[in-house]
């Protein structure tokens, strides 16, 4: 009962898992697109890659709210704008930074490591 009063909005464990997963995926995309961006920064990204990245960003947006929002006014890439490799790298790096900040702030507190049956 005590623990309930201490943590009014406890972070659900699956949300942390999601953040960990997203962080790894965005890092993967970041690494891949960085390679492309080094040789052809102004090449528009193809629709297939862009859709995959947008799906991940949309998922990340559900976690990165309020102070953790990576870029004001940005939600996902618009396909018709034909974002370039360098655009995508820049945005992904912002998402990575904010995801790290979110994870740091929501690191498991010692109390939450105690199982409910302890």
């Amino acid at each position: 009962m005590k623990s309930k009063t201490k943590h009014k909005h406890p972070i659900q464990p699956d949300l942390k898992e999601t953040a960990r997963k997203l962080s790894a995926q965005i890092q993967g995309f970041y690494d891949e697109i960085s390679v492309l961006s080094k040789s052809k920064p102004d090449n528009p990204l193809n629709a297939f890659k862009l859709k995959l990245i947008n799906d991940i960003l949309a998922e990340a947006n559900t976690i990165l709210v309020g102070q953790y929002q990576p870029l004001k006014g940005f939600n996902v890439f618009e396909d018709t704008n034909l974002p370039t490799n360098s655009d995508v790298v820049m945005v992904l790096s912002q998402y990575l930074t904010r995801l790290k900040a979110w994870q740091a702030a929501n690191r498991a507190a010692p109390i939450s490591r105690i199982s409910p049956w302890d």
Binding site: P44, N46, T80
Partner: protein, 453 residues
């Protein structure tokens, strides 16, 4: 308002591009600048095409046989009759009304069946050979003879394709259909598409049969034929006479061409320029000064025309390049057929009635209001209310505002493509990660976002 270089599908508003269909889309007031090459039927892996070639040769040799059997008049009539096939509209006759050969030329052709022992004994193996024996016989004749003698197949092909693509067909009477079994010409009442202007029936021709010139042709034979002692005469008629007396030469040439059949490919109706060439063209555009100094405007127009026709293919078929004068100024336009083959093209067709896309070229440092108005005046029922200004730099604020006002007041959509857009188009043309037409779409979407809600 007359359509600019109308094609059959444009007239009926059918949304297919040349790339998507198996036949060459006929122009309504012009011929398709390609020819049927019977060698493509001969070398085709399809048994159907091979059989058609066999039937073609057999029918042609039959006329020679008739002449030799004393039915020269009948053979002559047939030869004249098959020498022109108006319904297919191939070649370079502007008014789509080619002429038949004269009886004297027909006589010369039939004389080959008596004159040359090998032909007398076994007939011709390739009808293209007659170009090497008879004057006045060129690629257009070979193509017409082929079409005339395969007309029955072309009729079936046309009906099938029309059903598949929804091309309207009407009941027509077609004369001069060669009946292979009865070896005679008959008239048939058929359901075929017709030229809406002239009401003349049209036959569609498979793209796979078309070439700019036949694989076996006089010019190449003349250039390649070589006799050690220089016995080959150099003028055309003398060469033809020489060939009649030296059939072995012709046979050797034909065998050589048969051996090289793997290189014989049909020619596409439009061949986009290569990526390297596109890059070179754009580099040239970038270096060109604005204005008219050193004819920079002309060169700009030429380069942009070649570039855009290739970059926007196959989503947009290039129709024509045309010049017009507005307020004493010569203006160059590029016109494309809008076949709604891309979501954005469908949007502008529905929204602005854009049946054809007009691109106006302006090699100026800064587009002025008058330039926008010139294009605006040109937009009409045929082009719809959508136009593109291809220019060097982004529109100045006040000119851009003018385009927004035109949209607000008259629902006219005039967008600009700049050097930067062209560069992106060339980049994606090279990388293949995107379609160059998506850059045009981006310019359109950008414009619509800035229009008042």
């Amino acid at each position: 308002m007359a359509l600019v270089r109308p094609r059959l599908n444009d007239f009926y508003g059918l949304p297919f591009t040349q790339e998507e269909v198996d036949f060459a889309i006929p122009f309504l007031d012009d011929d398709i600048p390609l020819y049927v090459d019977p060698f493509l039927l001969w070398k085709s892996p399809s048994q159907q095409d091979q059989s058609l070639h066999t039937a073609l040769i057999s029918s042609f040799n039959h006329f020679g046989h008739l002449a030799r059997m004393g039915k020269e008049r009948e053979a002559l009539d047939a030869m004249v009759r098959i020498s022109e096939c108006r319904e297919v509209g191939l070649g370079s006759a502007r008014d789509k009304r080619g002429k038949k050969i004269g009886r004297s030329t027909a006589k010369e052709i039939l004389a080959l069946f008596n004159l040359i022992p090998q032909i007398k004994a076994g007939g011709l193996e390739h009808i293209e050979e007659i170009q090497l024996f008879v004057d006045q016989i060129g690629k257009d004749r070979i193509s017409d003879v082929t079409c005339s003698l395969t007309k029955s197949f072309l009729i079936d092909f046309t009906i099938d394709q029309c059903k598949r693509h929804g091309v309207p067909i009407n009941e027509v009477v077609l004369d001069g259909v060669f009946d292979y079994a009865g070896k005679k010409f008959v008239s048939e009442k058929l359901l075929l598409p017709a030229n809406p202007n002239t009401k003349a029936p049209l036959l569609l021709v498979p793209k796979r049969w078309l070439r700019f010139s036949p694989w076996i042709n006089y010019d190449e034979y003349f250039a390649a034929a070589h006799v050690k002692d220089g016995a080959i005469p150099r003028d055309r008629v003398a060469v033809l006479h020489y060939n009649r007396a030296n059939y072995g030469m012709v046979q050797t040439y034909v065998r050589k061409k048969e051996r090289a059949q793997a290189d014989c490919k049909n020619d596409p109706l439009f061949k986009p320029i290569a990526v390297t060439s596109a890059k070179r063209k754009f580099e040239e555009i970038k270096k060109l000064p604005t204005g008219k100094s050193e004819n920079a405007d002309k060169r700009y127009e030429e380069c942009v025309c070649q570039l855009l026709a290739s970059l926007l293919y196959p989503q947009l078929d290039f129709a024509t390049e045309q010049s017009r004068t507005d307020s004493g100024v010569l203006i160059r336009d590029l016109i494309f057929y809008n076949n709604r083959s891309f979501d954005f093209l469908k949007d502008i067709f529905d929204e602005y009635g854009s049946r054809k896309l007009v691109f106006e070229l302006k090699n100026v440092r800064e587009v002025e209001r008058e330039h926008v108005n010139q294009l605006n005046r040109y937009l009409n029922d045929e082009f719809g209310n959508f136009g593109v200004l291809v220019t060097r730099n982004p529109l100045p604020k006040h000119v851009f505002k003018n385009t927004i006002d035109l949209w607000s007041g008259q629902r006219r959509c005039i967008i600009a493509l700049t050097d930067v857009d062209l560069e992106t188009m060339v980049t994606v043309f090279d990388s293949k990660q995107r379609l160059p037409i998506e850059i045009l779409k981006r310019a359109y979407v950008d414009f619509t976002r800035k229009c008042p809600a």
